[in-house]
Symmetry: C2
Subunit: 378 residues, 2 copies
């Protein structure tokens, strides 16, 4: 997931509470560096040449194994296509699945990149509201029953944080089956459930082959890696393979090979386990700090997954104004109203806590309290 609307990011190091940045301070840089070095030192001519436009075979295999075990995804390696990240994956699926003028459901509020991808495919984005059960499928069916595709984040909606309920999952799949639509499941940070086992992916419930699963290593490894993947339904594999056959390799061949080794040697699974613990601690630290410093103004939504949290902002404030005041004081937050495509139904702030060390939360929320004071209407 790229930078959210309104959050500055160019050139500067991540600060509290920039959304979308993982715990880079805990990334095992030295171990990753050794893995990359080893792959380089053994690089064959075929590897330097870049290889398969669908992606490096060993990485496709390692991903298929990982998502089957960790996310309940049903797939074989031939269904896995390596991408340069989530945005590129959604672009590619829409380019193949929709025609200019087709309608595509997108979540509202939601990831700005989904809307950009729909527009870039010259299709028509249809905002479908999200509530505490996730995407409101019934409203989608009312607004655009014949949409050709839906871009959804079932496991941990961005930015609200809700999980798509089982009833809605089944309704969404039924709709897609009936209308032969494609569901693009963006599963960008689902592996970071703070407690218990992560929910199974929507793809695992799909008996009809209408879900394309999209994953990324930007959150689970680091954003600078620019590696992700999509998992095509079996009937679509030939279409994706044909589209790729005239393209260049999707990403650096050496980094693909290094990531495959990192996965298959178990380093990735170990890193995920450590991250889950860290995000639980950091999520709790954020809630504690908000309670201590901003209790009257901000009411956090429940947060049990990932590295972002959303808090409702009390009526007198404008979230855009608070965001701007906070930025002036050196604190980054995103304004919830910037994520709405249709009518702005809620006001709130979106916090990234992934990149913040536990001891730094109070410094951020104290500054935020000052920003709230400054932004309070007379």
């Amino acid at each position: 997931m790229a930078s959210p609307v309104g959050a500055p990011r160019l050139g500067s190091a991540p600060r509290a509470f920039r959304p979308g940045v993982p715990a880079l301070d805990l990334f095992p840089t030295a171990l990753w560096g050794r893995t990359v070095s080893r792959v380089h030192s053994r690089a064959s001519t075929a590897l330097l040449d870049g290889g398969d436009p669908a992606g490096h075979a060993s990485l496709r295999e390692a991903i298929a194994t990982h998502v089957s075990a960790a996310r309940g995804v049903h797939c074989v390696p031939a269904q896995v296509f390596i991408t340069g990240g989530t945005q590129q994956a959604i672009d590619e699926v829409l380019r193949l699945a929709v025609r200019p003028g087709d309608s595509v459901w997108i979540e509202d509020p939601g990831y700005a990149g989904a809307r950009r991808a729909v527009l870039s495919a010259r299709a028509k984005p249809v905002p479908v509201p999200v509530d505490s059960e996730g995407l409101d499928v019934a409203v989608g069916i009312t607004r655009a029953p014949r949409a050709r595709a839906a871009v959804v984040v079932p496991s941990h909606q961005y930015p609200l944080g809700s999980t798509l309920s089982l009833a809605r999952r089944m309704a969404l799949l039924q709709w897609a089956k009936r209308s032969r639509a494609v569901i693009i499941e963006d599963d960008y940070d689902s592996e970071f459930r703070h407690r218990g086992r992560p929910l199974t992916a929507l793809q695992g419930l799909d008996d009809w082959g209408c879900v394309v699963y999209v994953g990324t290593f930007s959150k689970s490894m680091f954003p600078g890696l620019r590696l992700g993947f999509l998992i095509a339904p079996p009937a679509w594999v030939d279409v994706f393979a044909a589209a790729r056959s005239t393209a260049s390799a999707p990403a650096s061949s050496l980094e693909q090979a290094a990531l495959a080794a990192f996965l298959s040697e178990g380093h990735f699974a170990r890193h995920l386990r450590r991250m889950r613990v860290a995000y639980r601690e950091r999520g709790e630290a954020l809630l504690d700090a908000l309670r201590a410093d901003c209790a009257g103004a901000l009411t956090p939504r429940p947060c049990d997954t990932g590295m972002q949290a959303c808090a409702a902002l009390a009526a007198p404030w404008s979230d855009v104004r608070v965001r701007d005041e906070a930025a002036r004081l050196g604190v980054e937050v995103a304004a919830l109203s910037d994520y709405f495509l249709g009518r702005r139904r809620e006001s709130g702030l979106v916090f990234g806590f992934g990149c913040v060390r536990p001891e730094a939360f109070r410094a951020g929320t104290r500054l935020l309290a000052r920003a709230l004071d400054a932004a309070r209407p007379p």
Copy 2:
């Protein structure tokens, strides 16, 4: 430049005479591996986070310095935008510069990726013939005077190998100025002039800011790296920067930083010098081998740049059939007629000699002679 039409490439190691593959046997893998390791071991949080969507600042600076000295390109680092390779660069420029339905000149015969990029921008590709002086600008003006863009390879046309003459360069620039069109200069293998100094880039002659220069490290480093760049005219920098501002970083941040170090420490310039000598030797070895084994059938065109050569095929043969027979015997060549978009005016074979060790040429041409026998019409 991606795989040419008709050449098999998926999964297999490069073989004689696959076009588009550099001398990977001579790439300083260990030195590159050490550079990458050093960058990893010092990686900052900001570097892991991915950084500027325009590309890593140190790489943009190193590229600006390099192309100014080596290619006579006039630019400052802010004009340099890092890309994932040539195809992505052409796609991006066309997306910003043309509207659906606009006409775009492309070289005929030419790089299939240029046509794909034009179609993907929903514009209309207008094939403009190429002869020994390069693109026939007068024909282009007759066919589509109001085209919005032209995609050209002035330094070393692919696949014919011609260089755009000075008179045609001036005519092309005059046309672009008059009609406010954009010239996309694909300079993919210009640095490998076998003798003497490479020709200055077309961009260096452009006083009006109508040329976007596109370069790649796929040939000068290795294809698996997936790093290239575009250089926007000064007046276009804000447009490109705005388009990038909502995107993710264009490629792996660590590999960008490593490449910047490789350039600024002088390794890249040294590698280029060694490659020029190797390509001169390999180009001569190819001509000698063709003269020895295929003299009656194939007449090579002059070849003083790069890692590809084209040879005219005598009348009785079909180049497609020879290509297929050769593939059966284990030799890869491309058929010239596959590169034509309009009428197929010439028959010939396209050879990549970059990836072939000098001692292996005769083995390839002897098999090719057998393929010519097998493909000879009765």
